[in-house]
Symmetry: C2
């Protein structure tokens, strides 16, 4: 179908790189707008069951990628670890939104931190560690406690090791296989929140309310809206998100995880960003008239952005691994919306579903 | 997979007879719960693009129906004109919910009116007309103005002719091809409303708020919630819906269209019922935490019913035929949710999409 028109008409096809639950919920949101989807994934995932077409092939199969590109009107991705080469090949044939630049600054931690710090936005003190010779200089920047994180392919707490004192850094570096890393100074915080914004093809930006996020073993377990963050911090968080998005001419939903420190000198510190719909935005499916998934699709399709207003308060909880067995009990709760990803087996640590407990909107 | 367990586990497959927009929205709702779908339709419709499997075959192809039944765990239907024989064949292999009895009383107008009147619920005065010899007796029951309606296959105003005076009945009967008909006395009404309820496999019943419905050329154009109906009438309407559902041991979402007459002796009169999700319930997709589509799936799958609470007020408007061309303008409205059925061409009279204009919940 070649290059996309703006905006894409109903009946057009959105390509999605990646086939997990985020791709699944993107495909369902596209269907609501009368758009078709074509998922490209390196293994059959839960998105494949709800898409119009699926291609299962490696991300380095350039011929299959080109064939995929020729069937769609625009392409997006549901995870930030799509190989850049795949995006470059596809973008020669059809627009990819958000584009390659968003991947470059988010799939390599050092590039991400340098990009954000370069905007004048606070991040945790950080230093590269790619060999034992880097230890002393890195520790001088970050102090301890610190966290050693691999530069690439970390998510849900994977590729991260805590470093309580300087003498633990060697073992930590071994534990991550000696891969290129970033050492980050640990930030004391009151709570973790995330900015969720959507930026349209025309540069317009809309913000969802910020959720307050809680993690368990590095995996998000709960997001609560409203967050309880003071108004001044809410405004500052939105400004941080907007600057990050505008600096890379971003299109679609972007999430930035922030620490709220309570330190007046530096109340908000960016932890990391995700150039995609985000787990901490799943509450929008039932507490907003237009969800993060639909707004991402609207943005990349060149449509007007939809309402980001919150009509209800919400507490989103993930169902990790065998917790999905609670589906029947959760389905019986009042004012609760359950989402099941149909992933089949439920190994430990795997995101199998989530549920939103809802209540009338408060003033927060 | 044989007979269904109760409740169906995520990963199970729901069969849907019919492939239009109601089937499409049922399939999308099932996906949200991690259930798969298999659509059986006599022509490729908009549901086929969002289902896991589709069988395109006539409803009298009993072998294909049996093969379909063997791939699913429960079967439902999205329109009341499914041939009874098809349902009987399928129900020998897998539960069909709502069952054949719901079809029997809703796909033939005379049976429907007799069923409802037999419960002591007011309906418009009616009489059968299957030959010119019936005219005098029928007119004696209904008076004029009246409406002549074919007993079968009428929807969206099709198969209906107004009869302003007794001498018009002959032409009306010719206009509907001399098919078996019901002559109905016309009811003067203040407004049309519908009861939308969901009844679970365990007999529990939950009600959505009643919409007030407006029609144009016999096709629903707008549903508004809250309806403005007084509390006493709201309670009476719910009781009418519950009696209709319980009398046929109904499972799933049922809609009953009512006239609100303003006559204290007979404030509510049933117009017709639909044994399925209903166009006047499309507002629930964005104004309730659990939509009519999800609650229908929950009911037929033996799940607990979900919340029917209205978190927002809503005005639903249909997009008929070329009105779908307004999609871009409507997508830009604040507090508006747009739904496009991806039907391709837009002939006059065809339901192509709808939109819900939303606002904070009032006390109505």
């Amino acid at each position: 179908m070649g290059a996309a028109l703006t905006p894409l008409k109903p009946g057009s096809t959105v390509g999605i790189l990646g086939g997990g639950q985020l791709g699944r919920m993107l495909a369902l949101a596209a269907s609501r707008l009368g758009l078709k989807t074509h998922v490209y994934a390196d293994e059959a995932g839960s998105a494949c069951a709800v898409t119009n077409h699926a291609t299962i092939a490696p991300f380095d199969d350039l011929d299959r990628l080109r064939a995929f590109a020729d069937t769609v009107d625009v392409v997006t991705y549901e995870f930030e670890n799509v190989p850049l080469q795949a995006v470059h090949v596809v973008s020669q044939r059809v627009p990819v939104r958000p584009g390659a630049r968003a991947l470059e600054v988010s799939q390599e931690r050092l590039a991400e931190k340098r990009y954000i710090a370069g905007l004048g936005i606070p991040v945790a003190p950080f230093a590269p560690v790619s060999a034992t010779e880097d230890f002393a200089a890195a520790l001088a920047v970050t102090g301890t406690p610190a966290i050693l994180k691999t530069c690439r392919l970390g998510y849900d707490g994977k590729g991260q090791v805590r470093v309580a004192s300087p003498d633990e850094l060697g073992a930590a570096f071994e534990a991550v296989g000696g891969l290129p890393c970033v050492l980050e100074g640990r930030i004391a915080f009151r709570s973790e929140v995330s900015v969720l914004l959507v930026r349209g093809l025309d540069g317009s930006v809309a913000f969802y309310d910020l959720p307050r996020n809680e993690h368990d073993n590095g995996i998000l377990c709960r997001s609560t809206v409203p967050s309880g963050l003071p108004q001044a911090e809410l405004a500052a968080a939105r400004a941080i998100g907007a600057a990050i998005a505008e600096g890379i001419d971003y299109v679609g939903v972007l999430a930035a995880e922030l620490f709220w420190t309570g330190d007046p000198a530096r109340p908000l510190v960016v932890n990391e960003i995700a150039p995609r719909v985000h787990n901490s935005g799943h509450w929008t499916m039932d507490a907003c008239w237009v969800s993060q998934f639909e707004n991402h699709i609207r943005a990349i399709a060149g449509w007007p952005l939809g309402s980001t207003d919150r009509h209800s308060d919400a507490v989103m909880e993930n169902l990790i691994g065998p917790e999905i067995g609670r589906w029947h009990e959760l389905a019986a709760l009042p004012a609760t919306a359950l989402h099941v990803y149909d992933k089949g087996e439920a190994p430990a640590g795997r995101k199998m579903g989530h549920f939103n407990r809802l209540s009338r909107r408060s003033e927060g």
